[in-house]
Amino acid sequence: MAATTTPPDAGAVPPEAIIERFDRVERIAHWLNASLFGVVMLTGSILYIGQLSVLFGNREIVRTLHVYCGLAIPVAFLIAYSPRWGRALRRDFARINRWSQDDKRWFRTLGRDRNVRLGKFNAGQKLNAAFVVAAALVMVGTGSIMKWFEPFPVDVRTGATFVHDWFAFFIWISVLGHIWFAFADSEALRGMWRGTVTARWAKAHRPRWYEETTGDHGDLTE
């Protein structure tokens, strides 16, 4: 990796230095959301898969848990997004929205192009984030139609069930992928757990973000 071959005089930041990646609000929001997603995905599976329904029974309780944890997902998000606490989160959302030329190249080559210089997030993370936020809203909307169905015509109820089922399928894929990649890179996972990464990691994996945060423009062997 580039960072390990960087000569010692290249920059003022030692490779073992600690850089903040996610602030406390972001981490609390992330793990709160992760827990809620966990509950909603598991209870959803119990409601949906016959063998699990049969195993767990208690349909009323499972359904109540599913509905109210689902409704809590945007609430947790709104709290984190409030003007008072959510500065870092809003900034990251702006980052996730914008794709640079490097992001596009990274996406086209699925990360294999070593000349790509990334910012704080790679294009996969950006795509996943945009998908999950929108999909969560779609789930809250269609789930609400399923729960409070009286005012809706039958075709809309059937449509909502249809969308809810299929979106659940894709959310499962997205979340499992997210967890897979987190465990594949323990330092990235630590970034969300303790909030910090080493300068070495940042320089190697997210060079543009590293420069932006540390102001260190030292030579990077490419």
Binding site: G57, N97, R98, V133, L137, V138
Partner: protein, 232 residues
């Protein structure tokens, strides 16, 4: 911040897909069922059962899956009748069978097309017990110990209401309410009580389990619960 706002486009794109799906999902589902059902039927892995296409959802209201073997099972017919009786599973199977192929429609929206059912006409069992004059309705109980249902006497005597012991050409599995369940063809699924073991004639309709949670007692498909599905 520079760069293309791909994130925003993906976000609104997904919201759009969701909205279109809600509006057109019912049609898409019909189409999918016709297109994919033949493939699903040939799927040996069973994985396709997880796809949201033409499938039963298994509902139980108690903590576990009620189950009884054929030899443990018995059906009681009693209440306001002249001669109450109890049938073993074998005795029920020995009665003249009624077969029908009809849809199963759930009040929450899903529908399974053209399910093959076989059982004994409920009306035949009532005749055998001899219904007393002051009996007006029937109360059904499940051996799950919790679920109950009801029908009026005239509903119960319809030719498309059976005490079913076969589904899709085989024994009814425990998940689907076996060994014996009710199948009330013209009504929503919650009327077709699973794990049926007691049929009791009563002098008035006593609302069943889901009816205490607001479902209509007369659960006609397409004419109750604020729905307008095609009749089954």
């Amino acid at each position: 911040m520079d760069g293309t706002p791909v994130g925003r486009r993906v976000f609104f794109g997904i919201l759009g897909v969701g909205a279109v799906g809600v509006l057109w999902g019912a049609k898409a589902q019909d189409w999918l069922e016709k297109a994919v059902a033949p493939l699903v039927a040939k799927d040996g892995t069973g994985l396709s059962a997880f796809l949201p296409i033409g499938r039963f959802r298994i509902y139980t209201v108690t903590g576990d899956l009620p189950s009884k073997s054929h030899s443990e099972y018995s059906l009681k017919v009693g209440g306001l009748v002249d001669s109450p009786f109890t049938l073993t599973y074998e005795a029920l199977r020995a009665l003249p069978p009624t077969k029908m192929t009809k849809d199963f429609q759930c009040v929450t929206g899903w529908r399974v097309h053209e399910v093959k059912w076989q059982g004994v006409l409920l009306g035949d069992l009532l005749d055998r017990a001899g219904v007393k004059a002051r009996a007006k309705a029937i109360r059904f109980k499940s051996f799950d110990g919790t679920y109950t249902e009801s029908l009026t006497l005239s509903q119960a005597r319809r030719k498309d209401v059976i005490v079913a012991y076969q589904m899709e050409g085989g024994d009814i599995s425990a998940e689907h309410g076996g060994p014996v369940r009710l199948y009330v063809a013209p009504m929503y699924g919650y009327k077709s009580i699973k794990w049926l073991d007691t049929i009791e004639l009563t002098d008035q309709v006593e609302p069943g389990y889901w009816e205490h949670y607001g479902y209509d007692v007369d659960g006609w498909v397409g004419r109750s619960n604020g729905r307008d599905d095609n009749a089954t």
